[in-house]
């Protein structure tokens, strides 16, 4: 077994774990973690399978570099949305609470 094949198989399993995680986990932050695992899995498959007989293939290396940057960009945007949503929900709760208080008084 070449390292390429070992890591490709690992990548497949990571992808499946991540995909199931995105669907099943409730918390948005966990979903984002799971998406990143999915991506890492796909990257490992890309490079690992291309090098399954040994040897180095620079083309998938370049693709994965591109992919890593795309993944961090998407993660940052997703986190920004989660934080924005959180702020708005906290504000909403605060407003509900203050409305309830004035109604009580």
């Amino acid at each position: 077994m070449t390292p390429g094949l070992i890591y490709a198989v690992t990548g497949l399993l990571l992808f499946v774990i991540g995909a199931a995680g995105v669907v099943l986990l409730a918390h948005a932050l966990r979903k984002i973690l799971a998406f990143n695992l999915m991506g890492s899995g796909a990257f490992l498959v890309l490079v690992g399978l291309a090098q399954r007989t040994g040897g180095v293939d620079p083309v998938p290396h370049a693709m994965v570099l591109t992919g890593i940057v795309v993944a961090v960009a998407a993660t940052a945007l997703a986190l920004a949305l989660v934080r924005r949503l959180h702020v708005l929900q906290v504000e909403l709760h605060a407003k509900d609470a203050s409305v309830a208080e004035t109604e009580d008084a």
Binding site: V16, V59, L77, L81, H86, V90
Partner: protein, 227 residues
Amino acid sequence: MKALLRGTVVLLALALATLMLVAVLDLPMPTVQLPASVAANLAQSGVEHPVTAVLLNFRGYDTLLEIAVLLLALLGMLSVAGPQTAPKPALHVRPDPVLQALARLAVPLMILAAGYLLWAGAHRPGGAFQAGAVLAAAAVLLNLAGLLPAWSTPGRLLRLGLAGGFLLFLAVAAGLLVEAELLHYPPEHAGGLILLIEAGLTVSIGLILAGLFLLFGARPAAAAEES
């Protein structure tokens, strides 16, 4: 219902994993051998490191669009946060003096390392992405040490820094249309043009990656009042 969904997803995942494992273990040899043609054309690419050659020459168009994705993510964050949010205070209210000393020591070294990585990319592992990432890491470290404030809505100069690398890349790509196809470097100038593009990209990638961390104004308003 929830348990049913869970079960179905887990079963599907297991089935997919098994199918893929079986499929992967009896793959034929690939018909096309790209590593060979990368090696054969490396001399015309203007750089000696094959990954850099693929990244900025053979598949440079992918990289051009990828920088657009990066810039776009930052834009998306800006549009989500809205223009009116206050800049976020540095993470630690009282910065750690040890961390500060470390940052003062490490940041100049990191900037040097970024310069080295940029230059090295032509011959060996390294290049604009790694150099930009190191610059961004330096900025994050400075912010954590309380030496660099977070940004609010970027001013004109900062916007120029963020988009400049991409615009330079795009201008070179389009400028080459005078002679030939998009991004078709003449072999004798390829090395110089790639270094120029990478230099621009290093600054912009560094700023954008740092921006993804520093530019987040959406610190919860309620939280700011509490603390």
